[in-house]
Structure formats: C-alpha cells, structure tokens
C-alpha cells in the first residue's frame, strides 16, 4: 500500500546564510495492507520528516513515495488533496482547527468531506468521542480550550473517523492515561484488521512492541542533525 523508494531530503535555509541541512538519503520502505511499521531513531533522525514527506506536507527531493497508485513525491496538489480525502489519514501530534467549530463537527469533518450525510457523520463522531471518553458536555465546544490529552483524543477520533486504507500516526498514545491508551491501541489494531497500512512513531515502547509488526531504523539514512 505504501512504498517508499530511495528518497532523500534536505532543507535549504536561504535567510540563514543559505545553510543546507541534509536530513536523509536513500531511505526505502514498503508497508503492506494490514501491517503496522514503527519508525525508530533518536530525536532528529528524521522520523517526523519522513512522515510529513509521505503526507505531502514536505517536498521530497528525489525518489518515489507511492501511496496506492499516487506518487506523492511528484503528484499535483489536487491529486494529494484527493489522496488525503479518501486514502491517506494522518494523526499529527497537534490539533489544528478553525476556532469556534464544535468538537463534534471537527470529528465529523472527514466524513462530511467524503460525502457522508450530516446525520450519519455526526452519529459516527458521537460514537468515537464516547469511546475515547470525551464527556458529552464538551461536544458542542471548540476543542481549542481543551487539555492536552483531550485535544489528542479529539485528534485521534478525527483521524479514525474515515476508514483510510493508509494511516500515519505521530505519537498517538503520548499524553494519554492507561485507559485511553488501551482504547487507542485497540483502535489501531482494528484498523490493521480491516487492512489499513500504518506507519507510526511511538516513544511509548510498550505500545510500539504491542502494536507494530516491524521497526524501521531511520538512523541509517540520516545525514546529520535535522532541522
């Protein structure tokens, strides 16, 4: 489902003496449907960078990143938008939302964007929020004022609302209590069972060992200190 071939990346900082910071070179990785692979390596090894390259958030200097039949490294913006809508989900570490939009609508949005009718999307969002222990009295509020752990769970609910065939998870269990952590791990396991290809970053080693089938060590492809 996800196939990364020989990718490289560097950052050029034009306003800081045109410093060129090489981040990675020659990284290759294949993830099949139903498989979960953990990216490992010290901080600065390029784990998040690779994840952002797969999502099309960072440009890829060379190589191929196939997600389904789209090469993200070369795709036009609208192809990537389409890919993100139906194929590739991403749970980042930080929730970024329009102020004033209710938590329920934030979670339902990926479903609305793919043509689910409003009632069904809201029902599905309610189910997810209940499962992740977000109290019902918070649903009508914007998540911008929530605690870190609550925002993280809203982010996860949103990321799991649509059944993407490929998922990127950046520290999905960070800042969660044991109960919610177990729920999130169960949700990841269910996504694997339905055939999702998953790439994750977990600093929670117990979670990583429990849920991931393989580890991919980024250190080998790291060129130097990352940005």
């Amino acid at each position: 489902m996800i196939s990364i071939e020989n990718v490289s990346k560097s950052f050029v900082l034009h306003n800081q003496g045109t410093a060129e910071i090489p981040v990675m070179q020659g990284a290759s990785l294949t993830v099949s449907a139903g498989e979960c692979v953990a990216l490992v390596g010290a901080s600065g090894a390029g784990k998040s960078t690779l994840m952002r390259m797969i999502y099309g958030n960072y440009l890829t200097a060379s190589g191929r990143i196939m997600v389904g039949d789209v090469d993200v490294a070369r795709a036009a913006p609208r192809e990537i938008i389409q890919l993100r809508r139906r194929t590739l989900g991403y749970v980042s570490q930080f929730l970024r939302v329009v102020p004033r939009v209710s938590t329920l609508d934030v979670v339902a949005e990926p479903l609305l964007a793919t043509g689910t009718d409003a009632d069904a999307a809201r029902t599905q969002a309610e189910t997810l929020l209940t499962r992740l222990n977000i109290p019902q009295r918070l649903w009508a509020l914007s998540p911008t004022t929530f605690s870190g752990g609550e925002q993280q769970r809203v982010n996860i609910a949103r990321g799991f609302a649509f059944p993407y065939p490929a998922l990127l998870l950046d520290e999905p269990t960070a800042s969660l209590d044991p109960t919610n952590r177990a729920t999130v791990l169960a949700m990841i396991a269910e996504a694997k069972t339905r055939g999702a290809a998953i790439i994750g970053i977990f600093h929670d080693h117990a979670a990583r060992d429990e849920i991931c089938d393989r580890q991919f060590d980024m250190t080998k492809f790291t060129m130097g200190p990352a940005a």
């Binding site: 958030n57 960072y58 440009l59 938008i81 970024r96 329009v98 102020p99 004033r100 964007a113």
Partner: protein, 256 residues
C-alpha cells in the same frame, strides 16, 4: 476533468511598471486557491484581471461556461462578461461597502442580485433572502435594516449572502477578513468553509494573512514583485517553503 478556470500567461503593466506577469494556473471545481504576498506584490491586480475588472495586456483567462464550455473571458463581449459576473461569478470585496448598496435594505441587497437573473416573484425573492440571511447568521428581524446600521462583521456576511444567493461556481475574494477583529474573522472563516463544502464552490482568495489561507485554501500561490515565485499545496508551502522570500514570509509571522 475540465478545469473551471484556466489562466494562461496573464500580464498587466502600468506603464513600464509590472502589475503582474507570467501567471498561469488551472483551478478545478471545488478547489480553493490562496494568493499571498506583501502590498504591491501584484496579487490584487491579478485578481482584478481574473474577475474581469481589469483588462490584462497579455494572456488568456478561460472559464468553463455552462453553455459553451471553456471561453476566454478577456475576449468575450462586455454583456457576456457582465452576465457571468451576475451569475457564475461572485466577488467579495475587502470593504463591504464596495460590494453592497448601502442605502438599500439587507433584504434588498440580496434580492437585487436575484432580480438581476430574472427572479420576479416578490414572495419568493423575500423568502430566498431570509433563507440566505439566516445562513450567514443574520436574523430575520434585520431584513429591512440598511447595511449602514450593521457592524463590520455583519456587513461582510451580508456581502457574502448577496454574492452567493445566485449559486455562483467561482468566488473571487479580496482580503475577505481584512479589517475585522479576530473573533469576527474566525466566525467568517467557519462560515466560508461550510459554504465552500456545501456548494462545491471554487474560490480564489487574495490575502496577506497566512493563517487565513491555511484554514481556507487547498493550494497556495506566493507572489513578489508581480511574479509568482512559489506554488503548491497550502500546508506544504507554509511548512516547507522553498523560495527565500516565502521562507522569510513564513518565519516573520508572530506567534500568539
């Protein structure tokens, strides 16, 4: 899929000075494109060339018309272009007073645009106006008030209702949230996002506010000195900018 708008090497000069030059892009149905750049970068000139308010010196702006497919809006006749302006196109000005008739009631402002596309039944027009005022969160009891009695945020929402009532397919916006305080801005952004999704609108938004484009635009175009210096997916351009100027622009945003 046919692009809704096909822009080919547009250029506009003010004497020997460049307004904008060599701008080309395709916009597809449902896409929202942001244009950012500092004052004088040519972004408003470009928008006005695209919307038919200025005649570019070079290039073509082809719009996928309902009847005849792709037509160059620069070479079409003035009545045809005006018709597009009343039906398939909408233009949201930065200052609501430029897009509203200030001495006509709120309902009249919305209804007028309907009458321009041959709506004649008073009751229907009034009901449609009430419906649209509701969608932009203006209560029915304000329908007979003039925009002069509205706050800046309400005027801007009224301008949006007036523009969208005829079900346009392409909306041009020039700094739609400029000059509004941030809480009003957030409300307007939320409203615009909902409308874009429900009506499958395409939009071109000119702004200097990077936070606005991050929330509204799928794609981004960065302009400097009349030229496009960088384009791409909005979050990619903002998070991994390639051009020196874009890097400066992104790193100059103050953190709250």
């Amino acid at each position: 899929m046919t692009p809704l708008l096909q822009v080919e090497t547009i250029a506009k000069f003010y004497g020997s000075r460049i307004g904008c030059a060599d701008v080309s892009f395709d916009l597809y149905p449902g896409e929202v494109m942001g244009i950012v750049g500092e004052s004088g970068s040519g972004k408003s000139t470009l928008l006005n060339c695209l919307a038919g308010h200025l005649t570019p010196d070079r290039g073509a702006v082809r719009f996928d018309t309902r009847a005849q497919g792709l037509r160059d809006t620069i070479t079409m006749s003035e009545p045809e272009r005006r018709m597009l302006g009343r039906t398939d196109w909408a233009f949201v000005h930065q200052h609501a007073r430029d897009g509203l008739r200030m001495n006509v009631s709120a309902g009249g402002n919305v209804g007028e645009r309907l009458m321009a596309v041959n709506a004649r039944h008073y009751g229907d027009i009034r009901n449609e106006a009430i419906d649209w005022l509701g969608r932009v969160e203006i209560t029915e009891d304000r329908i007979d008030d003039r925009p002069t009695a509205f706050s800046g945020g309400m005027q801007q929402r009224l301008q949006i209702a007036r523009n969208l009532v005829t079900g346009p397919r392409l909306v041009f916006m020039d700094e739609p949230t400029g000059g509004l305080d941030v809480s009003v801005q957030a409300r307007l952004l939320d409203l615009l996002r909902g409308l874009v999704r429900e009506m499958n609108l395409s939009a071109i938004i000119v702004t200097h506010d990077l936070a606005v484009v991050r929330l509204l635009a799928d794609r981004l175009m960065v302009m400097k000195d009349g030229h496009v210096i960088e384009t791409g997916l909005t979050d990619q351009v903002l998070d991994d900018p390639q051009h020196a100027y874009t890097q400066l622009l992104v790193s100059s945003v103050l953190q709250v």
